[in-house]
């Protein structure tokens, strides 16, 4: 989430800078359209001032070097890949929403909602209260129409059967899953030798 917020800030900053550059370029063009000919406030004079012919020659030379047969220009390749990565990151910043979707109780109901992380913390604490469970991890995925899923992955002791452990966890989760309309999905596995019941 923090990364997306950073990307959105970068997109806003770059967008602002591009607008400033566009405004300055438009102003310069307008001013240099006042006179005709090759001097004074004319477009050829602007091109000379910006050294556009030199730039054209320089770009022409660089592109010619790239097209030549021979070993791959590693620097140009890296710069190209970097620009592609930057463009993809900026697209992410534009399209991925910065605001995290909350789990709401009812479809479209903004009255009561909770962040996924908060619900996952509680689900984990509830699962770890179950007999025979040594540790648990929980994830919550909101559904578009309210509620969602709570996935719990728990470690159990050898003496605890998988089915019984799952039932106990689902029973412990009931106050949370019923309240927020979360469908529980519980998986258990045998704990490592070093694990102890908590």
């Amino acid at each position: 989430m923090g990364f997306v917020i950073l990307l959105r800030a970068l997109v806003s900053l770059l967008g602002f800078l591009l607008l400033v550059i566009l405004a300055a370029a438009g102003l310069a063009l307008a001013v240099f359209c006042i006179q005709g000919g090759d001097s004074g406030l004319s477009l050829p004079a602007l091109a000379d001032a910006l050294r556009l012919p030199d730039l054209r020659d320089s770009v022409d030379g660089s592109l010619g070097d790239l097209e030549d047969s021979g070993p791959v220009d590693l620097l140009a390749l890296l710069i190209g890949l970097g620009l592609i990565a930057l463009a993809l990151a900026l697209l992410l910043g534009v399209f991925v929403p910065a605001r995290e979707r909350l789990v709401s109780v009812a479809p479209g109901d903004e009255g009561l909602a909770a962040r996924r992380r908060a619900l996952a913390h509680i689900a984990r604490a509830l699962a770890e209260r179950s007999d025979g469970i040594t540790s648990a991890k929980a994830k919550v995925k909101p559904a578009r129409r309210g509620g969602g899923k709570v996935k719990v992955r728990a470690d159990r002791t050898r003496q605890t059967e998988a089915g019984a452990a799952r039932e106990r966890i689902e029973h412990e989760l009931a106050p949370l899953s019923d309240g927020f309309r979360l469908k529980p999905k519980v998986r258990t596995r045998l704990a490592d030798r070093g694990s102890r019941v908590q």
């Binding site: 989430m1 923090g2 009255g111 909602a113 908060a118 019923d178 309240g179």
Partner: protein
Amino acid sequence: MPPKPRSGAVSPRTELARVALEAAVGVDGVAAGNAGPTGQYVTSWGGVRLAGVVATAQGAGCFSVDLFLTAELVPLHELGERLPVVVGEAVTEAGLGDRLGNVSVSFLDVEHPLGWAS
């Protein structure tokens, strides 16, 4: 004892936000107001930053109150249903009952007495 504003006048909107947040934070099971991951859920009350509450005009002189809270390890659903009632009572007691619109509650985090292991 309510805090004193540092500067400027306090509007009914921000006063409503303060009363609602104070009432919510006073409820058992609520640890604190939560400003959100980027600090967007705040209201400035006379220069004092109230984290975890946003009051928005809702028409006809009313304001909706959105609360963003960190809860303790308690049943969230029951707590979430109790909070609007408590807030409504506190706002009425403060003489702002006719200004209160919708009240929403969002739990952004949960506090564990021993901290959460990663």
